[in-house]
């Protein structure tokens, strides 16, 4: 299988000296073109840090990363800016990931201008982008606050798509959304992938969501990948005890099934 992105033994440490805290302890994963890799884990597992490391927002303390065969472990600012064409992001919170004082048009045009595309071409492209995420074109001159959470997330997705990237890091893109909105945004992400062949690193704590969008799933626990494999296998026949526990704890909207799972799970106050 060809690889679009590869992280080898990726390590990230926050703080230094006595306060050093290694949050990623050697993570090795690969993402193929057009593939969705789901990254599941609980808070503090390091899943968001991995996404930020991939995006160059956090420096690595060890290991290496490559994109399309090219080493991207330590990039000079200029080279990092060039990589922006290929690697993009959709964040969790559509309320803080869009600048409240910029119009939709300014938000969408920003990455295009930063890559040196002329204003007139960029303006034309912005309209097409909105269309691609099923937003009306009169949204262009409105501000983020005038949109609902789901619409804002569509704008954030449009911004990520602006440069036709080959990989989008989706960091909990639907966890701030209502149930019905959540499903529509997920469907949009899948549809865009099928149309453009973009790959996703899909980070989420919600197992059901990850299972729905991911071809492969990697489970992260305390800075390490404890299990990875095809979505069906990891989510239906988990092998690692932590993955098993995670699935047993996952709530389902079915009272009978829930009663069964309740019997299975033994209260383990493991946090003490």
């Amino acid at each position: 299988m060809s690889e679009l992105f590869r992280g080898d033994d990726v390590r990230v440490t926050y703080g230094r000296g006595r306060h050093a805290n290694e949050v990623l302890k050697g993570v090795t994963i690969a993402i193929a073109p057009g593939e969705t890799l789901g990254l599941v884990g609980e808070s503090g597992s390091g899943k968001t840090t991995f996404g930020r490391a991939l995006l160059g927002l956090v420096p690595l303390s060890g290991g290496s990363m490559s994109f399309d065969g090219e080493d991207i472990t330590r990039l000079a600012p200029r080279a990092r800016r060039r990589l922006a064409k290929d690697v993009q992001v959709v964040f969790q919170d559509p309320y803080t990931s869009l600048n409240p004082s910029m119009t939709t048009r300014d938000i969408l045009i920003e990455p295009l201008i930063a890559q040196g595309i002329t204003k007139s071409i960029a303006s034309a492209k912005v309209k097409a982008l909105l269309d691609r995420v099923d937003m009306p074109s009169d949204a262009l001159h409105r501000y983020p606050r005038e949109f609902s959470g789901g619409q804002r997330q569509r704008i954030a997705i449009a911004r990520a798509l602006a440069l036709d990237p080959r990989l989008i890091v989706c960091d909990e893109p639907v966890s701030a959304l209502d149930l019905s909105t959540q499903q529509r945004v997920l469907d949009l992400l899948i549809e865009l992938q099928e149309r453009t062949g973009v790959a996703y690193l899909f980070i989420s704590h919600d197992l059901s969501v990850v299972r729905h969008v991911s071809h492969r799933v990697a489970v992260m626990y305390k800075g390490e990948i404890v299990e990875q494999g095809p979505a069906v296998q990891v989510t239906e026949r988990p092998e690692h005890p932590y993955t098993k526990r995670l699935w047993a704890a996952n709530l389902v909207a079915d009272p009978e099934e829930q009663a069964r799972r309740r019997g299975m799970r033994h209260p383990t106050p493991e946090e003490l």
Partner: protein, 603 residues
Amino acid sequence: MTTRESPGTPIGSEIVVRRGLWRVLLRNPLTVASIVVLAIAAIVAIIQPWILPFPPNQVKLALTNAPPFTTEYLLGGDKFGRDILSRLIASTRPALQAALVLSVVAFVVGVTAGLIAGYFSRLFDTIASWLFSVIMAVPGVIILIVLYTIFGASTTVAMAVFGFLVAPSMFWMVRTLTRSVRNELYVDAARVSGLSNLRIIGRHVLIAIRAPVILMAAGLAGAGIAVQAGLEFLGLGEPGVPSWGAMLTDAFTNIYVAPEQLIWPAVALGLVTGAFSLVSIGVRDTLEGTYVKPSNRTRRKEIEMVRGSAAVEKTLGLHPRPAGEMQSGEPLLVIEALQIAYSSNGKITTVVNGISLTVAQGEIVGIVGESGSGKSQTVFAALGLLPEEAIVAGGSIRLDGQDLLSMPDNQLRTIRGSEIAYVPQEPMANLDPSFTIGSQLVYGIRAQSRVTRKDAKDLALTMLERVGIRDPGRVFKSYPHEISGGMAQRVLIAGAVACKPRLLIADEPTTALDVTIQAEVLDLLRDLQNERDMGVLIVTHNFGVVADLCDRVIVMRAGTIVEDGAVDQVFKNPRHEYTRMLLGSVLDNAPARPALGAEATHV
């Protein structure tokens, strides 16, 4: 991760406030008056050569100390026989000039340094922070007095120096704001988009900090005028140039002969400095959306409007009494035809539209709905914790037959905690970081029941053990930041049920927790409920929580109840289309996505 609407903001209120900043600002009479005063002062400063009745330094000995409104000197003459009105007008320009110089210098120095220190935050930050701390420690007025004696009296130089001396306050503010903006997701997104740092500062940071910076500049301008007047009062001003400070000195030395001469410069000074600070306060209040309590009359009118406008949807008959309910009397909690609205800019938004529900003793009822459904507003009303601006326009909330809505505050306080307990969504935000867990629990227990400190401590320790905390003694002595989120939620549950409440209200109690912890907390809630036979009303957006915990479920949408029934029945056989749509959006039982390449089978 938070999907619930925050209690204070009805849908869209923020939108209205931000959109019409100027409009809202101009609605505050004090702000309008201040802006008018400043505008007049500015106009006077500009056109003063043409409106001066007399040259400000012209002496007419006959009019020395002339009383006001009697001679050609409208406001009278001073002790040298000069026209007070002309001097008052002529002083406007230097005063405003001083204010302008001061704020521009403070602005340029403080904002530049603050941006660099806040955004790049390395060596420069350390050095600049140290330097500005030193400047801040320097006694500004004394430096100015020294400067005047060395360099002679130049107001512009003095105010420029003073601007530099007050720049630290601007620096600290810009640095802090820049730091928080730098951590915003939209700045990260801009970096990922390939924007250079300079562009990010220009496009994102400056926009975000502009309002507070302008406010502070206005505040400093007012202070500048006052300081300048103070220095002139001490006699340090430029001789021959009329100024309010100098006029005050003249009048002061003349106080036994013509005390009224003090009034005019004092009024001018007070008006202009006051206007500067009132404008900045007005803008701040508007930006922060500070709630101004309306008069009782407005409030009554609003309530009438809600009652008149909202067609109360009938949701009666949707709450079948569960079997096994006590024959006598009514259920533990009864909410009937509850109506809650918010008014913003004269527009009324109804967030809860005539809903009725019950919670029986020993029953766990879940309210599900999406954001804006009014579910949180409903339970906040039951807790008596609605924000002040909420208008409860109708209906009743009864606990054991007692109406909570009409109950006086002190009585409600007794009921909260002892009869009704509350478990919030964000456990960490609901523990005070500056007190130990133990002291907070003891404080809560003693507020509810008159027990000794020792008994309260014993009870708290027992409760901590009861909620599954392994080392209660250690947790008792810990501060909130020393425990995990899951443990914090256990602590809050311990505090909530310590005084044996009969009704427990939980607002998304597990939303902020990890999956594995969530399951444990739900188990704990179920056990406690069994043990104490409490009624539980739980708000959630997660059907999994309902399926796991609840006996009955109420589905809310846009302020109304669309479905209310036993959990088994609603999940198996939802009656309302909206419930069906919500349940259909749940991905729990959707098939996993097949591996890449096998996509053809994927829908």
